[in-house]
Symmetry: C2
Subunit: 236 residues, 2 copies
């Protein structure tokens, strides 16, 4: 062991670029979208890449992530968690670079989301209609991992709620689950399970197009934190 420790003196160490890249999920028009940016420069010019960029000297990976989302897309995220760090030696042809990737959710808003000032530069893609080719770096692999994580998380965390506005109906919530899982969950069973968690607080009823008023709910954050400590499963 002493010899290997000596070999690791700071003066002999390689240093690398470390970036953040984010896969941002947004719920719009009854579907889930992620934004991709078309690169204007080499390498991978005109290829689709994730919003992100190098971490600055004094910032944490999380701050770098939030700064890039604000700078590049004017987005504020509701939920952010680390996904995975990608570090294959050949992932960037210029210099060895690591990407700490993030998984982000933004809440539905009454204002339409920015689709990029120049549609050639930034575009929101339906998660079932992502580009098949023309990706920069390993970003397609990052997106695939994020979608897998989103689907898995539905069963043990209320991630669907982070995609909705503060007040929502159970039909809207179920639609999010159906869209993400690519299936149609049983409505009665879904409502029963969600209600039994005690995480939904009824707020008010609103007129619905089909006549019967629709009950709105909000999410009980305090109870969720408590359940999370105890370990919870939605069982879907």
């Amino acid at each position: 062991m002493p010899s290997s420790r000596k070999a690791a003196r700071p003066t002999e160490l390689s240093s690398f670029i470390v970036s953040v890249d984010s896969v941002i999920f947004a719920y719009m028009n009854q579907a889930v979208y992620i934004p991709l940016i078309m690169r204007a420069v080499e390498p991978f010019q005109d290829c689709w890449s994730l919003p992100g960029g190098p971490i600055l000297e004094k910032e944490t990976p999380e701050s770098a992530c939030l700064r890039k989302l604000e700078e590049d897309m004017g987005l504020k995220v509701e939920y952010l968690e680390q996904l995975y760090t990608f570090g294959a030696p050949d992932r960037d042809p210029r210099k060895r670079a690591f990407s700490i990737s993030y998984f982000a959710l933004i809440a539905e808003s009454e204002e339409p989301l920015s689709w990029g000032q120049d549609s050639r530069t930034a575009q929101w893609f339906h998660i079932d209609q992502l580009p098949e080719v023309g990706w920069a770096f390993d970003h397609q692999q990052i997106v695939q991992m994020a979608i897998k994580r989103l689907r898995a998380k539905l069963s043990y965390e209320p991630v669907g709620l982070s995609l909705l506005a503060e007040e929502f109906s159970l039909s809207e919530l179920k639609r999010i689950y159906d869209v993400i899982l690519g299936t149609e969950l049983d409505r009665r069973n879904f409502q029963k399970k969600l209600k039994s968690t005690g995480l939904l607080i009824p707020t008010r009823t609103v007129p619905s197009p089909r006549g019967k008023p629709s009950q709105l709910y909000r999410f009980d954050e305090a109870r969720y934190q408590q359940l999370k400590e105890e370990g919870l499963s939605f069982g879907f």
Copy 2:
């Protein structure tokens, strides 16, 4: 956006040290242990640190991890997965350094594990009796996250099996769950659940100290991969 992208030209980028650090779980003498190494040099001289070190120019993070475990401790791991990347700007007083941390399991072996040639340098700690002070860097935080992950994983992945030898009895398997969860699971219920997964293949019976022969099993890796695709839960 164009201005922020211009600011990110490679020539102006900061570069950082990127290391790997591993939390290695081993099952020995009916308890779960992790190895820590006492640092011989500053910073954090004489403090406990995780096995690990800087990633070399041409290797992936996983290869760096396996190389360090082999070099430092002569260990071969059964299971390795990325845990989290730690990157607070002040985590290393010398230079900004990122740590890609890993979660590793090693299978029980008939040969005793190396406890380090010099007990002052490397030592295996019972996961319930870790040092309370005297840690290097943010390694205490990394270990805490790994233990939390190990406990959570028990409910949806057969991680307990990776800690055992190829052939094992259900009592040995249950002991691992009890030790990690710090509880005593119901024996009948545990055996019923495990058997119902179809993941255990009976191999042979061996004489047991209490007279009644003990049934040994091996793990059905092929069936596990299939269940994993479908999503499984052990329900503990």
